[in-house]
């Protein structure tokens, strides 16, 4: 008999934009569809991770075979958060536990009902995703069955807050996106002995719409590079646009940049920088397929599905050199290059745009990498075996005597 799994994630649903939340939904749905497991999700009614406003209806529903329990939040992010965060940010490891716990409450969403429901749930194992929020920190304390933590950790000040020490230490198993994430977490928290798996996420299926990418962008037959993901200053979009515009000043030609994704920080479009906003899945795949290169400018990724989606279509990538997970993907696969300054961006982009053989070789290596590691059927089967082992091991990670 297969275990019953509960996922705890602060936001859940197709309307939610967020890497960790999307990852949780994909794992939950693939466990149900691919392995026939019973999966339920404990989440809030929020869509926005800043306000945590209750937007979706509370109560139970079924989404793609997964039972979803939604609860209202007692509070979202409160104004006090910004002062407190500003005070703790310079030296987060030195914060008092009282301040750090207050930081969790002020960041929201405070979900007392969710935690109580979780306490009463009959799941055999509970997966928490990501480490950063109240439902994980408080929920993990409330659960008696084995707890699997999916940190989705970035190298951010919050990771160093002492309140997360017990969260990591309390996990019966940890599921990482990449080995780089594992190194980061183990550098901050002493959890190397905890059973773990480096899993990541599956790619696809590819849903092509059959349109030419340049047609979707309305740029005729001009070549272009693409960057898929939230258009946001923190994601490096503004930097990319600035670098690309300067690149075009120094290397005039038809090349364009397409920023594809929801716009959080407006970037003024022009004839060289096209901001599409949200596009359909088929359009997204078409846009990526026909790009010369895909760029991931963000320094704060814990996995970056968009890099793997580019490789799925044999498109080479350029990533931020200081982002360990995406750079690790490139180093392991040989499917991409990286930049740590405008100078490097310029030379790398120029080289890739002018060297079709290099593009083909990188794209091919990336494609092989995705085929080996990130196909859903094998990935979800491996995750299911991992969860089964966690259940068999039981909740008591540390016993009374050796």
């Amino acid at each position: 008999m297969t275990p019953k799994v509960a996922f705890v994630t602060p936001r859940y649903g197709p309307e939610v934009m967020g890497g960790a939340e999307t990852a949780a939904r994909q794992l939950a749905e693939h466990l149900t569809a691919g392995c026939g497991w019973t999966v339920e999700v404990f989440s809030t009614c929020a869509v926005d991770h800043i306000t945590w406003d209750d937007v979706l209806d509370p109560g139970d529903s079924v989404l793609n075979g997964v039972t979803v329990h939604r609860f209202r939040s007692a509070s979202g992010r409160v104004p006090e958060f910004y002062d407190l965060d500003g005070r703790l940010r310079p030296a987060p490891a030195q914060a008092t536990m009282t301040d750090a716990r207050r930081w969790i409450e002020c960041n929201g969403p405070v979900t007392l009902d969710l935690v109580e429901a979780l306490r009463a749930a009959d799941a055999d194992v509970v997966a928490f995703y990501p480490y950063l929020y109240y439902p994980t920190v408080i929920g993990m304390e409330a659960v008696a069955v084995p707890r699997v933590l999916h940190p989705a950790a970035h190298d951010e000040p919050a990771l160093y807050l002492p309140v997360f020490g017990p969260t990591f230490a309390g996990a019966d198993a940890i599921c990482y996106h990449t080995a780089a994430e594992r190194r980061l977490v183990q550098r901050v928290h002493p959890v190397a002995q905890v059973p773990q798996i480096v899993l990541g996420l599956g790619v696809g299926p590819v849903v092509e719409g059959g349109r030419a990418g340049a047609d979707i962008l309305g740029i005729g037959n001009r070549p272009y590079v693409v960057s898929v993901g939230r258009v946001d200053e923190h994601k490096g979009s503004a930097m990319l646009a600035r670098y690309f515009r300067l690149y075009k000043e120094r290397h005039p030609g038809p090349l364009a940049l397409a920023l594809v994704g929801p716009v959080a920080a407006p970037i003024a479009p022009d004839e060289d920088v096209i901001v599409t906003g949200v596009v359909s899945e088929p359009d997204k795949w078409d846009l990526v397929r026909d790009a010369l290169v895909a760029v991931s400018p963000s320094a704060l990724e814990s996995f970056s599905l968009v890099v793997l989606e580019a490789w799925e279509q044999s498109v080479p990538v350029i990533v931020n050199a200081t982002c360990d997970p995406t750079r690790e993907h490139c180093e392991r696969s040989g499917g991409g290059l990286w930049f740590g300054s405008f100078r490097e961006f310029e030379v790398v982009l120029e080289r890739l745009c002018s060297d079709g053989a290099l593009r083909a070789r990188l794209g091919s290596r990336g494609h092989d990498y995705v085929a080996s590691y990130y196909q859903w059927p094998s990935l979800i089967a491996r995750y299911a075996r991992f969860l089964t082992a966690v259940c068999e091991r039981g909740p008591s990670r540390v016993c009374a005597s050796a």
Binding site: H189, P190, E346, V347, R393, A402
Partner: protein
């Protein structure tokens, strides 16, 4: 068999970067780096613009990124060192710019006085850091000239296998262990598999590129990482056993001590530390692994281990191998440990 402590990730057998591709990509990267250096030296970008572009990049780079060099971060410090007393006066409101300009004029003498001092301070700090960077570079060059060869994992095929003479002893010592047991260097997980079959919750770490990666899609908990880094990231007293094989012979004295101390700290009271090693005579034998010539250290004698472990609060015994070329030391951590001699 180089023990890669750099934290780089290995290549999965058959799926990652093949040798030819690896060489090709390394060449491409080298050409890119060379071109970047050439353009930087040419000064074809105004220094102020290049500083702004660097600052833009570093604005969202992770804190303490291991990928950044000091001299790169110093470019950001330099760009921010000058504090401009001339406050912008643009305004979207009618007359706003005039008002702002008047306020700026009235306060300018004061702001200039303050910002001048702050700029002097930041410039001095920046200058100090540049000197430090320069001295560090010099020091690094000197250290590299006398660098001790890196520690290596010693692969001894006849001894690192499930039917080796010492494995039954390890199984017996760890039988019934209720905490996790670490094997390093674990290779393809051969000992972890043996322990798991006995109901022991074993996992493995190996620093060698590609050794673990070949198994990483399997179900064993095997990780490619530095053993020392791993042990330092283990919660104190969390492990029931630590088995070290192929590690100590090729480690320098300092690293050997750190490995031992970290392993001891990771063990719970009653926990078992196992060291399998070649003997000094096995190290000198004609059929010794090539690593014997590549490192500057020699294996300890068995008696050295029993004394060291005794000093650390262990009850330790040493067992020689059947042909005298290797030995096994098993230490059980006492609670409380005796006073250090």
């Amino acid at each position: 068999m180089t023990d890669d402590r750099s934290g780089t990730v290995g290549t999965p057998a058959g799926t990652g970067v093949e040798d030819a591709d690896r060489a090709y990509l390394a060449r491409v990267r080298a050409e890119i780096d060379e071109e970047v250096r050439r353009r930087r030296a040419s000064g074809d970008l105004p220094a102020q613009l290049e500083s702004e572009l660097d600052a833009l990049f570093l604005q969202h780079a992770p804190l303490g990124s291991t990928r950044q060099e000091l001299h790169e971060v110093l470019r950001l410090v330099d760009a921010a060192a000058f504090i401009d007393p001339v406050v912008p006066v643009e305004s979207s409101r009618p007359g706003g710019a005039v008002v702002k300009k008047s306020i700026r004029s009235m306060n300018f003498w004061y702001l200039r006085f303050i910002t001048h001092q702050v700029s002097q301070f930041t410039t001095a700090v920046s200058r100090s850091l540049h000197i430090l960077d320069h001295q560090l570079a010099g020091l690094t060059a000197k250290v590299e000239a006398v660098e001790v060869p890196p520690s290596v994992v010693v692969d001894v095929a006849r001894a690192h296998r499930a039917d080796a003479w010492w494995v039954p002893t390890v199984e017996a010592e760890l039988d019934g262990c209720r905490r996790r047991v670490l094997h390093a260097a674990c290779g393809d997980g051969w000992l972890v598999a043996v322990l798991t079959a006995r109901g022991v919750d074993g996992y493995g770490v190996d620093p060698r590129g590609g050794r673990v990666a070949a198994q990483e899609l399997g179900d064993m908990d095997l990780r490619e990482e530095s053993v020392l880094d791993h042990l330092r990231a283990v919660e104190a007293g969390a492990l029931g056993g630590v088995v070290l094989s192929g590690l100590m012979e090729g480690s320098g004295h300092g690293e050997r001590r750190h490995l031992l101390e970290s392993a001891v700290a990771a063990l719970a009271p009653g926990g078992v530390l196992v060291v399998h090693s070649l003997t000094p005579s096995g190290w000198d034998a004609a059929d010794a692994p090539v690593e014997a010539d590549l490192v500057q250290t020699r294996p300890y004698r068995p008696a050295t281990w029993t004394q060291l472990l005794g000093d650390l609060g262990f009850e330790a015994t040493a067992s020689p191998g059947p042909d005298g070329r290797d030995y096994l030391v098993v230490g059980r951590r006492l609670s409380p440990p005796p006073e250090t001699r």
